[in-house]
Amino acid sequence: MANLIVIAEQRDGEFRETSLEAVTAIRGIKQGDDKLSVAIIAADPQKHVPALSVEGVDEVIAVKATDDFQPDLLEALIGALVKDRAPSVVAVAHGVDAWSFAPTAAARLDCGLATDIMGLKLDDGDLVATRAGYAEKVLVDIDFPGKETVLLTVRTNAFEPASGSGSPEVTEMAPPEADVATTHEGWKPPADAGGIDIGGSEFILSIGRGVGDESNVEQYLELAESMGATLGCSRPIADNGWLPKARQVGQSGQLAANCKLYIAMGVSGSVQHQWGMKHVENIVAVNTDPEASIFSIARYGIVGDMAEIAEELENLF
């Protein structure tokens, strides 16, 4: 029997759905009498038990402490669970929170570590995690020879959130001793994006400097609306004040996290822009320069004037 543990997260008392995606990842390798436990630290952990009572979860470990984000406390919790239960896997949703405790925990406890995984399986009984490598250009399978415990951070949106009802036992656990070195100053909500949601949009039409002039931008807002897309842009367009910063895609802008179709018009495809969109499965690039880098990541490419292509699209929608 193996112990499998997911560290669930809440933010400001609100349960984070991404924890259920980590549950799905781990449920996929659960075998026979393996035990899947989900631990959560919160001011009122019992309130999160219903959300965690999903199919396949055998136990909820409720740690009554604080709703504040305390990476040291989370790290100490992992340490205590590894010591007491010798789990084969500890998983947590990948993200800025996990970055601040998962790698240090893995290093201190001498666990195996794979971050941002998008696949997980058992190969002849050995754990194999899949993640992207070389700037998302290849998929890498990682195994963990000789490691009794492996710590995994699970990429968001790579697994469906776990569903189906379950009736886990609830174990109360005292918060572990932790050398808390950080103070939680409170949550700062992201700046009001005026209803613009690049991260949540499945279809983005993005414009770059090829648009030429501010007076042309309105045309693409209209086109995006008629096509049912969200209008995104490259950095110079936002820097010029032609579109709000909330529409900027890229390293210093937004990540097109849920995008399935990305049409880039007049965008050269700098590494910084690609950071926000190169993972999108269907990228269509429109550029007058056949050598533009954007074509190297596009599934479909049109060498042509974006104004002409936009006019043709306007006729279709």
Binding site: A191, D192, G194, E214, S215, E218, L221, E222, A238, D239, N240, G241, P244, K245, S252, D289, P290, E291, E311, E314, N315
Partner: protein
Amino acid sequence: MNAPAAKIGTASVTPASALIARLVEAGDPYAALGACVHITDATLDQIALATRRQRLIVAAASYAPPRLLDILSQDADAPLILRLAKNPATPADALARLMQGRPPARVRRYIAAHANAGALLPQLSQDTSIEVRRAVAGNAGAPADVIARLATEADGPIARAAAAAPQADAATLEHLWRTCDEWVRADVVAHPNCPPGILAEAEAQEDPLIRRKCAANPAIPDDMLMRLLADPDEQVRGAAVRNLAISGDRLDKAGDPSAKVRRLFARRTRLARPMIARLAADADDWVRRWIARNPDVPADVLGELAQDPEAAVRRSVSRNPACPPDLLSALAVDPQPWVRAGVALRDDAPDAVIALLLDDADHDVLGALGRNPATPANHLEMIARHPDKDVRRSVAFNPAAPPDALGLLAQDVYPLNRAILAGRGDLARALALRLLDDPEPQVRFAAAASLARAAATTTSEQQ
């Protein structure tokens, strides 16, 4: 090899010799390359091209001076040849040199598409590779006789490229109209050199694509365009409305049943006053958004549009060059930040309006103020200290930014902010010298380019 390390004095311009000496001493290939863009110096050229990696970078860089690309073409191997053939800055002589080395078809195709390949196009139009000939047909510089010869080939991509070629003559277009499919014919009727006979035939075609392209032709006869403005197909009418061959004041005064077409009316200038009023009261949000941007709209109509329930319409008014100061004052307190940001971008906004916006906390508003030459200097300095890096960067784009604010940006922790600062055409010498030691190659490149530009300008003025 090294020139004696010259003293860089306190004058406002570093003399070219002193700059060269400093760059040679530093031996930094990025700074040397930046200077090479404006100054010709063999030692700097050598530094810029010192390593293989550096030569590959320069060969692919569209900002590289043609002189260096020419040097590289003199003993280029295959990877360099490919980069040079693709580089839009490669000069004609260098391309000719590459051709002398009998490059493979892939390279010839890039040369055939190159904007500087004019003299080589007749030769390339007879190339054995169809891809090369297609590239010639798609080259905007291809002369009429070359296009005419290529158009006789029975090849779809060549025919389409020939029909869209700027220099295709009437006889070639006639040939393509008679022999090709509807897509090529559509390009033929959109061509300014399309013979009138074909346009007349096109106008009578059932296929709306052909009539639409005909309506888009900038050389279309006036009466034909007027008829197409009343075409039963909205796309044809739309193309006619877009056609600048007809003046706005002659556009349909009775309106159009299609909102899509009315949106296009609203984008045209020189519209008649009654039409402007009608469009400003249109039920379609997009028609009002467009007309609110139209610089011909009189102040009273703009005043009504400035109270539109749609924030996007109000934003359009804020960006309308004809928007009067009192409306700007009203829009400066709009509940929507994006409307206020539109006002904050205006360099003609009265001082009182700018003052009103200076207390705004929204980052788009502050970013717009940072760019705005009308923003008072002390506030620009405050914006240059803002915790948000994007807000700080806006000051680097401001032509009126005071030296102190720019000095802050020269120390900004965010590299992009220093890079934008270094790229300013009017970068003060002291800042440029400081940025010459920046850890970011892009910043050093731009700083050296700035110093070299100033030195070159001074030298040419003295001559």
